[in-house]
Amino acid sequence: MSTEAKAAPQAGAWEPNIVAFCCNWCSYAGADLAGVSRFQYPPNVRVIRVMCSGRIEPQFILRALELGADGVLICGCHIGDCHYIAGNEQAEKRMKMTAELLDILGIGHDRMRLEWISASEGEKFASTMTQFTEQIKKLGPNPLAQGGEGDGG
């Protein structure tokens, strides 16, 4: 309880909104493990489950940022472990392009991160969320967020 009370945002202080796309087979299970193991991580992350990291289109990331997300995480199975054989390899290719696109558009690739998290890596899930939240806090609010419209998911 005491740690939660400390982490609770002060009224009016800015807290980042982070969208995390997690694949059904590894990363979502990893999030589950983090939960049942009671690993602590910041409450800024909203998890969206997709069947495979290969399902995540560049558009999802841009659209999330357009709607006011401060950061977007993409989590999938480790290379070689994909439930659909090579979905994560496709994701890697797409996300490389998306990172480049974010730089060109002036949003910066730092607002996006691709991580491989397996079902047994609850701790890695929690630490990734903590690190990424810290990174986004340093970057500050998404310049595209319009007057809190996209706040609160």
Partner: protein, 386 residues
């Protein structure tokens, strides 16, 4: 809604339609899609049929290539009519399924955002002579670099287009200005019916272009050329500068002896993209530019100039099996000429044609395997000392 449609009918001359059906007979989309007819859309609106489900679908099937406008004996502005319908539809929240999940439109809307500072000139290298933001001649680079990044597995060569354009201008003794705060011209959003975002982009570009003090603006992308020349001037008054497509610039510079090319042995065929051809009526300049390169042999396709067919997709709103068939059809026509490459200026045409052959094709692969090349890149490659 009804009033707006009435106004649209008057503005586009749709009232003059005599139902002759010439528009449908030349429509590249109707040739493959028997449910689609430009005439039907206009006739239904004239008869006052509201909320027609066929029209609701077909307004997005239209490719706005304007081959019908040119054929109509009563000069009905079909593409203008479709654009008006789309704006209405957009306001009501009815949208088609866009390719890439709407990525390109999102990119363009992001550029319209005030707070975003783009890295617009990431393609600049030290060997190029340019000035930033201010100059007599401005090169409006367009989104070829961005599109080449998004579609890197098919058309990565589009990333070279702005560089190629600068090289051509430099070779003709011109140091062009490039704009750091240039944004997308908004063509796709306009044809998707998203007026608000289009106007935001337009205001940004008009401000940047006017602040540059340009006397002349040069374009490589046919869509930018059309949008700024026609739509911007329609909506925000005459621009205080001359506008020229790079092909017109090259044709003129060659005539004046300012630009010289090396010999290049190649057989090519040229695809008149709808925006540069039928919309802007630039047919001769690209052909003159090719003539200036010794050794280049241009073999025309059967349907060339104002009869050229379409690449099958408009504003990313209608990529489907009909478009694919049109692309395959056009590529077969290009291949039949025996040329080594299919040249075009439009980055979208290049993407769509490359997409058609990217996966399985419904015909023998040997019938369509003609490389699609960018015209501006080719000219830059042929430059003396380039």
């Amino acid at each position: 809604m009804a009033d707006e449609i009435k106004k649209l009918i008057e503005e586009t001359g749709a009232f003059d339609c005599v139902e002759c059906g010439k528009c449908t007979s030349v429509c590249p989309s109707a040739a493959f899609n028997k449910d689609f007819a430009p005439r039907l859309i206009v006739v239904k609106a004239l008869e006052g049929i509201k909320n027609d489900p066929v029209t609701a679908k077909n307004m997005w099937v239209c490719l706005t290539c304007e081959i019908c406008n040119g054929m109509c004996p009563y000069k009905v502005n079909y593409s203008g009519f479709i654009q008006g319908l789309r704006m209405q539809s957009f306001k009501e929240g009815s949208l088609p399924i866009c390719s890439q999940g709407g990525l390109i439109h999102t990119m363009q809307r992001l550029m319209a955002n005030e707070k975003l500072k783009q890295n617009r000139l990431g393609w600049l290298t030290d060997d190029l002579k340019v000035t930033k933001n201010k100059g007599d001649v401005v090169l409006f680079t367009g989104c070829a670099y961005q599109l080449g990044t998004v579609f890197a597995d098919r058309v990565s060569y589009e990333r070279e287009v702005p560089r190629s354009a600068v090289k051509i201008l430099n070779a003709a003794g011109i140091t062009p200005a490039v704009l750091e705060n240039e944004v997308c011209c908004g063509h796709d959003l306009l044809w998707l019916g998203d007026e608000d975002s289009f106007f935001k982009l337009m205001d940004k570009n008009v401000a940047a272009l006017k602040a540059s003090g340009a006397k002349k603006v040069i374009f490589t992308c046919p869509e930018c050329y059309r949008t700024i020349n026609m739509d911007y001037q329609d909506f925000s008054g005459d621009m205080p500068f001359e506008m020229q497509h790079i092909s017109e610039f090259v044709a003129e510079a060659v005539k004046e002896g300012k630009l010289k090319f090396n010999k290049m042995e190649k057989k090519v065929t040229y695809h008149d993209s709808c925006r540069l051809g039928r919309h802007m009526k630039v047919y001769d300049a690209p052909r003159e530019a090719l003539k200036a390169i010794e050794g280049i042999q241009l073999i025309e396709m059967e349907r060339a100039r104002d009869k050229a067919t379409c690449c099958g997709v408009n504003a990313w709103a209608n990529c489907d099996e009909i478009g694919k068939r049109m692309q395959i059809d056009r590529l077969m026509e290009a291949k039949k000429t025996g040329a080594d490459a299919l040249l075009t200026f439009c980055p979208k045409c290049e993407i769509h044609f490359n997409c058609a052959t990217h996966n399985k094709v419904p015909v023998e692969k040997s019938l369509v395997d003609i490389p699609v090349e960018d015209f501006t890149n080719l000219m830059a490659k042929a430059l003396k000392g380039g």
